[in-house]
Symmetry: C3
Subunit: 499 residues, 3 copies
């Protein structure tokens, strides 16, 4: 079903037209106009060296627990990055060729061969954030000075693979080098957090924490829903197949995560629908879902009701709630069957927040002790629904541009469509949301540059003054994220964020 035949590429005559030098413009992403550029530069100088706070991401905690070296360039940079896989796949390159293992099988391709294919097709990424992130990684981290293409594939592969064997490139050293003050991983409700326990034992618990992501026990459409619920029953000693036992088990799992440093939960639902049923109705729905008798609409009802239950628990235990809705996961059925999830085949769909969030907000929306950070893949909601909601409800904050929109243009759309109604202070700072470890500084740097650019535009057009911009850039770069995720203040911060 999955073709391995590539489409005919546009013939690239790199040697004729392109010089080979890889350069990074120190003013990249800033406005070009002289006056604006000066303002952007000045703002950037004040934040470029601030520590990285990464409160929502998908790095593997095993890396930081075991602190083993990574193997080679492909296995770190190419094969796990669904942004990269999706683009190459869209041009007819098979996932096997890129080193992805089929379900129950082995990778059939030599990692160096996969890397060469990547290099040969790197021109496809021009104009994408992956191109910006990767060029930054190549130039700043590995010191490459020639462009990445078919001619330089082996040079890149060897340089990177060798570097990865050095002490400086062990996972914990990377966090030091990158000045990562705080990073959160994401684990499911059944996870025993053994990696995090090891991280804590070895003294890194203040920098690397987990996040509670209970989709696997809240979503009746999740593969293994009932088994997972039984599993949290086993883990907690509650009768999780009863409604009250299920809620108790969830509460206890939350506490378990919180005890290991988690400050937040995360919810990846198909839509932002929330519900608020009576206890009796909810119990009956729960049993129907467990029995596998729930319709698609009842599954949606159950997920929606459980968001409200999670919100109420957040009010009790103080965990910040994050909602990431609107991705149609595993849209490519054949690819999913062959290779599993997270291979670049998730496609956003239209969602709405105004009516969907109302049941939850009717319960906890006015409580200033509750915090819900909203994300979207449907940008039509920025100005229409999200900014008005966050610009009114005390509990709501807007997360940064997410996934496909974590990009220069995505950031311009976010700030220009959100700020006028929600201001800067109903937003939650930047998230990198990535499993691509090496790209983390590049992503934060890109976000800081884009914020400097946005503020420079406002200042140069007389919409805010320079003193205000000086404060705002500090807040956007470090204070808002600390406040949103209830993180301790660091001594390195210039402006204090109360907690």
């Amino acid at each position: 079903m999955i073709s391995t035949q590539t489409t005919t590429p546009i013939a690239r005559v790199t040697n004729k037209l392109s010089s080979n030098a890889l350069k990074l413009d120190p003013d990249r992403l800033f406005p070009v106009d002289g006056a604006k550029r000066q303002i952007a530069r000045r703002l950037y100088e004040s934040v470029k060296s601030l520590p990285i706070i990464s409160p929502h991401g998908h790095t593997d905690p095993k890396w930081f627990a075991d602190n083993q070296s990574f193997t080679n360039a492909s296995e770190l940079i190419l094969t796990p990055d669904h942004y990269v896989l999706r683009m190459l796949y869209s041009q007819g390159i098979s996932l096997e060729q890129l080193g992805v293992k089929p379900r129950g099988g082995k990778a059939s391709e030599d990692p160096r061969e996969s890397w060469r294919l990547f290099a040969q097709n790197y021109y496809l990424f021009r104009g994408t954030p992956s191109h910006l992130w990767l060029n930054t990684v190549f130039f700043e981290i590995f010191g490459m000075t020639v462009k990445f293409n078919a001619n330089t594939a082996d040079l890149y592969y060897d340089t990177i693979t060798e570097a990865l064997q050095t002490e400086a490139f062990r996972p914990r050293s990377i966090l030091d080098t990158f000045n990562v003050e705080f990073i959160a991983t994401t684990e499911g409700a059944t996870n025993t957090l053994s990696h995090h326990d090891k991280i804590i034992r070895e003294g890194w618990g203040h920098r690397v924490v987990t996040t509670f992501r209970p989709d696997d026990v809240l979503d009746p459409d999740h593969h293994g829903f009932k088994n997972n619920i039984e599993r949290i029953g086993d883990l907690t000693g509650h009768d999780s197949l009863s409604w009250t036992g299920y809620l108790a088990a969830l509460r206890e799992r939350r506490a378990y995560f919180k005890a290991r440093g988690a400050t937040a939960t995360d919810h990846g639902h198909p839509s932002p629908a929330t519900r608020n049923f009576s206890n009796t109705e909810a119990e009956s729905l729960f049993q129907k879902c467990l029995a596998g008798d729930a319709t698609a609409s009842e599954c949606e009802d159950f997920r929606g009701h459980m968001l409200t239950e999670m919100a109420k628990m957040s009010l009790d235990d103080g965990l910040v709630m994050q909602l990431h809705p609107g991705s149609c996961r595993n849209h490519n059925q054949a690819l999913f069957e062959a290779f599993g999830a997270d291979k670049g085949a998730d496609i956003p769909k239209r969602v709405s927040y105004t009516e969907h969030l109302k049941p939850l907000l009717d319960v906890v929306g006015n409580d200033t002790n509750f915090k819900l950070i909203l994300f979207t893949l449907d940008e039509s909601n920025y100005a229409r629904e999200l900014a008005p909601l966050a610009g009114h409800y005390p509990c709501l904050l807007l997360g940064p541009p997410w996934w496909f929109h974590d990009s220069p243009e995505g950031m311009i759309r976010f700030r220009s469509q959100v700020t006028e109604t929600a201001g800067f202070y109903n937003t939650a700072g930047f998230n990198d949301d990535t499993r691509a470890l090496l790209s983390i500084p590049a992503r934060h740097d890109l976000a800081r540059r884009m914020d400097c650019r946005f503020l420079a535009e406002l200042v140069s057009e007389g919409r805010i003054d320079q003193d205000d911009a000086d404060e705002i850039i500090q807040d956007l770069s470090i204070n808002l994220v600390r406040r949103a995720y209830k993180l301790p203040q660091s001594a390195t911060a210039k402006v204090s964020a109360a907690e």
Copy 2:
């Protein structure tokens, strides 16, 4: 239910980082590029002093009827402004603290204390149009030269409150000072217009008129729907509980408003849905709505049918019809119960026009004597539906960016998404849509600046020439609004608008 506890604010170190001078850049909002800025300046010079035409707003006619002085800074600038209330509330400040009276209660807060809280949190508004409008009011109207913050709260409060006691700040003097040539208020169908009668008796009837807003008798979901219908029966002598009597009463109420200067009606429906039922069907639906037996869908049907009835009446009496759809009013149930409507808790939702307007357009869409001005909170319709509709149907005009989108970025989106399909001449000029009296000149000035900016971009990129831009800016600033709302030409206009 409504918490009064504030969230921990970002600690603001205003004294360290910020200078205290309040300045307004005379070139604010213009393009920064030198050539573009020159063009924008020249265009702006030609319109900055034109009179203000304000054909759609929510100022209180009592002000102009009685011409009494306003009391203090808080009661004029803070407490009635739902843009300001919503932002402060979003950060955990209660409405009581801001001087808002609970239903059936009294304001519990001293107005000066509310003002201080506003000042202390004024940094939240950075990047919002409220910040631009208010700074303009502070600087230009009250001559403030230091920034508004915790340190200057009392200075501001005292300066403004004292000024308000002078003759120059009585409501009618304000209209003179602001060069307001025409301003329309908005009244419900049961209103006897006694303030407007007084305004007319005292010779201000050509400058201050009413607008007929019959939502209270067209919307079965409106609190008091049946009572209001009985009331217009009493006022007109028609049996308004019968279908024919209801229509007759509506016609007579429209005539009553028109006789007092109204040139327009206004309709604030949840959606732009229109219907065109037979007389028999409509009568049956009306009786069902009166009896309180209508489903949500039937209420929507009734509202939709009544828009078509209103359109037909407009064809007869010449009143221009305005449609403001898509706000989910009083989204925050607890807040609404505690404080009532218009407290910053209305949230837009997704709407559609193409299919929703068709029944009405099938009846009156090709009649050049009918005018319907469309507004939206769902900007995804600008390029997709509204510009194509207004760029075809003779009866349609597009109103300016509305509410949350009455802002610099909102105006850029409007012009850039509407103009290429609908041109400039299917738009209706600017509306301030505000109850914030003092901000009216700032709002019109902002709109004129943004239009100058947009035209300067087009000229500098060779998309229109300078002579055309010179004409267009006059049309956008004064001619189009006069034509759209059927207002008399003023001697001050340079270019004649026929009517």
Copy 3:
């Protein structure tokens, strides 16, 4: 029903305010900033003279078959252009006045009088792409040096009408003058392609080809659906009223078009809905549609299923599939009844792709031999659905900004919302999609200028480098369209596109 009364125009005082010179800025549409402008100019120099490839349009093949002169300015430039008709109609000018024939009637207006009305109201088009295209036609093709308005109407009419009688303005000469290397027309499934046969006989078959547009036999809501199906039965000798005969007839008609040069099919459905029924279900649905018993939803099902059938046939015969969904055709019922289709009364509506395309993609989405080019009138899909889909599925390409969005701002939105997720290489180059023959070079020139502008922004902000931009502009201007539509490589291309 259709009023012929015009609305009162804004009085234009052209003679006072406007100079009369018509000029085209050689740098039009480029960025104004000096550094950016230099980059844009350099890129433009490298592509401005490349041949025109027009793989999707609506010119009349009779023009190229018979090569007769056009009659007059109105009949070529005004009356057939629905962009122009719609704007004039929106301001109260009747279609009769513009020379449009009512159904079964004759044009009642003298073409010169229609032209004068057009000239008098030409100011309405300021800020629209029609204004840019027409000014380019007037200046570059007819050498006009004064602006088009009431005073110059006759000069324009006479100059253009006389030029059209010369040899240089016969249709085939126009293709030579315009450097059109390839142009596709669009014909329905029942068309015998006699014009194309003549074109082939006369040696122009390599430059002018047809496109297979079977809406008339796939859409049960199409007027004459059953008759058309009977007709393709007659043409092919298959029993087209049986399900298998219908499919066989479709296959044969596709082969007939392909044999006359077609490389693509085109589908203008109300929505992008696709379905994948079993053969038995499809057969039953087909018979219901033929019998006229299908509900609206079943008609949508049938259209959706037939898209999947078309995709499967494309896999067999190699025709590239194009999908143009989301136009609510003939929205103005009275106008449609009076004048028929394509009079400027088609209005876009909201559509979705993620869920709608899934059934088709589940069947052919991973096959690299299948190509589906997607278009949209609902731009909210660019970043949310279309770029993620095209950035993953090997079969998908994105067509250029379409119809209302074929404009400078539409192109900025397209590139800025699509590129970061889909890159440049999942797009299909430019289409002019027009029946306005003379505007073709202006449209391609505008698209090339906008691409140069977009790339100049990226280069100047350090987001791509100059060498990459040099390659990309060639690809956007000529290589991508050749690859997408499977066209032969031309000797004039600098960079080879394999096929």
